[in-house]
């Protein structure tokens, strides 16, 4: 090949498989060649000879020799990913797309709104924020899951609650005996967010239904459309805007996203479907 072959995966070794919830596992792997990514970019994760699926790494972007992705078991490929064990060989392509424009966030007040497996990309983003936390005016994290058992990175998030540079609240759709926090969807824990909404940044990542109502709520609060960042999930495959599958209006999620400013895609059809 005269040019770099974008379809070829980097051979990687599974270092650890962490069970997060009943249907989410985190795969820690070491690529043969280090993979540098910007937080918000995604990779194509493949099981050799079986198939590929896109995931946004949930690990520290500063670390390129060991990466992590958190995978919910939802289909053929993810079911097989869940069967991976330490020492297994996988393939990684990427990173692809645009990450979060961190420089744009400096000096601003930031609200991060996450739901369910949206915590995976957001953990990587939070690491990036923690690394520059002195440069953020304020940082809020508001996250929700279906039930207390569905939270990713539970222990780690407990430690976030101790942080001075973060204001965090969590909620569940349906509580249980152990849950002492708020019960309700994530938009019900936004009243305690105190900032100048007109100049603040809102970052949303979660399942489509949460994104839809989250975006609506955040707009009502007074955030500006071009200060809202959405992480879009479409059927990304080639990663370079050629195969066509992840088109959203005049964009390809893989090449022009997956992180979009709301005003860029607000008129796209099928945006929340």
């Amino acid at each position: 090949m005269p040019e770099l072959n974008p379809y070829k995966s980097i051979k990687s070794e599974v270092l650890e498989v962490i069970t997060e919830t009943t249907n989410i596992k985190t795969i820690r792997f070491k690529p043969e060649v280090p993979i540098s990514f910007r937080t918000g970019q995604f990779v194509e994760f493949s099981l050799p000879g079986v198939g590929e699926a896109p995931f946004t790494p949930s690990s520290q972007p500063a670390i390129s020799d060991v990466l992590e992705v958190s995978v919910m078991k939802v289909g053929k490929v993810t079911e097989k990913i869940h069967q991976l064990q330490k020492g297994d060989i996988i393939g990684i392509r990427g990173p692809f797309g645009n990450g979060y424009p961190l420089d744009e966030f400096k000096g601003r007040e930031v609200l991060v709104l996450g739901g369910g497996c949206g915590f995976a990309p957001l953990r990587s983003l939070m690491y990036s924020f923690f690394a520059i936390s002195g440069q953020l005016k304020k940082l809020y994290f508001r996250g929700g899951c279906k039930s207390p058992g569905d939270f990713l990175y539970k222990k780690e998030i407990e430690t976030w609650k101790e942080r001075k540079d973060l204001n965090i609240e969590l909620t569940v759709d349906k509580g249980d005996d152990s849950w002492k926090g708020n019960v309700g969807v994530v938009t019900t824990i936004l009243d305690s967010v105190k900032m100048d909404f007109a100049s603040g940044i809102a970052v949303l990542c979660g399942p489509p239904i949460m994104m839809k109502f989250g975006a609506r709520k955040v707009l009502e609060m007074g955030f500006k459309e071009d200060n809202m960042f959405l992480s879009m999930e479409k059927n990304m495959s080639c990663g370079i805007g050629k195969c066509g599958h992840c088109r959203l209006d005049k964009y390809y999620c893989c090449k022009d996203g997956p992180v979009f400013k709301y005003n860029a895609i607000k008129n796209a059809h099928e945006i929340w479907d």
Binding site: E3, Y7, G49, V77, K242, C243
Partner: protein
């Protein structure tokens, strides 16, 4: 006068000489259709006039099925490294290549496989010498004779072909095979003009006969009709075969899929179709286009909304292949007519 005439008796010799350095392909006629065939001998009977062949030109560059990776490495190199020369390419397919080139070469990362197939190739165009029922190129601003995008172009006249040069590569070919090219007979230029006018008229008559709207009125037709019942109505007979997209000179979508046997694993790139149910489905089952009519609408959105936005062109060439390929008789001309009428 320039030596720009290839006589009928020299066509075979020209193709033969070309085949030393290139894998040469040209259309041959089988019953009512034309199909590309690889040059074998001077006795081949190329059909350089008439209209576009059955296969879209893209098939030479973005192959219907191609191995793009093997075991974390590049695929084994091809055994036959000759570049391709395609002779007899029609204007509609040349417009299709504008779209293909944009996607695979000029929009973001280059696709190395397409680039390799496209590199060093020779494209020799040819005027259409007639129109068939499904031809409506003029509606998309394409004339039935190549006006660019070729290395050489052949215009059929009595006894031979007038040859136009479209690139430095084409010019070099004329020089290389200069013994085969003669001075054009004076009458031939007039002859070409009147021949072109005849075919132009034939396409115009098609457009009138089938009441095809022209691209000047296409702006916003998909957006304005997004909620109309036209899509559901037109998709009623669709059997989701994907013929319309496979046969389309502008459609470029593909599927990457992995397979393995005992010794190796392969990643294949195969043509895909946005008409197929799972095309946009994400893991977990969410599918923005569950219904067939949504996928039909999406196909039109891609052609008549997306490409005008990113490339300033409608991704249709008026070649009419999708009309003849569709087992459900969905007719792009009729859909366009309804969209325009309902605007």
């Amino acid at each position: 006068m320039e030596k720009c005439f290839l006589s009928n008796t020299d066509v075979g010799a020209f193709l033969e000489k070309l085949s030393v350095r290139f894998d040469v392909y040209f259309p041959v006629k089988k019953k009512e259709q034309r199909f590309y065939k690889k040059f074998e001998s001077v006795n081949d009977r190329p059909s350089l006039g008439e209209v576009r062949p059955f296969e879209p030109l893209k098939a030479f560059f973005s192959r219907a099925r191609e191995c793009v990776a093997e075991n974390f490495s590049d695929p084994a190199p091809q055994t036959n490294p000759k570049p391709i020369a395609i002779v007899g390419v029609k204007a509609c397919d040349l417009k299709g290549m504008k779209v293909q080139d944009f996607v695979f070469l000029n929009s973001g990362n280059k696709d190395p496989f397409y680039a390799r197939n496209r590199e060093q190739n020779i494209i020799i165009g040819a005027d259409c010498t007639c129109a068939i029922d499904t031809c409506f190129c003029l509606a998309l601003g394409v004339r039935p004779y190549p006006e660019g995008g070729f290395d050489l172009n052949l215009s059929q006249v009595a006894d031979g072909f007038l040859v136009d040069t479209g690139s430095e590569k084409g010019k070099a070919l004329l020089g290389e095979f200069s013994l085969l090219f003669k001075e054009a007979p004076e009458s031939s230029i007039k002859e070409r003009d009147s021949q072109r006018a005849l075919v132009f008229k034939a396409v115009e008559e098609n457009i009138k006969k089938f009441d095809v709207p022209v691209q000047e009125v296409f702006k916003g037709i998909v957006e304005r009709n997004f909620s109309s019942g036209i899509w559901e109505d037109e998709a009623k007979t669709c059997v989701e075969c994907g013929a319309c997209t496979n046969i389309c000179p502008t459609c470029h979508c593909f599927l990457l899929y992995d397979q393995k046997d005992k010794d190796k694993m392969e990643r294949l790139r195969v043509w895909d179709s946005c008409m197929i149910k799972d095309y946009a489905r994400v893991a977990g089952g969410a599918n923005p286009r569950k219904k067939l009519w949504m996928r039909l609408r999406n196909r039109f959105e891609k052609k008549f909304d997306f490409f005008p936005k990113v490339l300033d062109t409608y991704a249709c060439t008026g070649c009419g292949r999708c009309i003849s390929a569709c087992p459900a008789k969905i007719d792009i001309r009729k859909v366009l007519r309804r969209l325009v009428a309902n605007a």
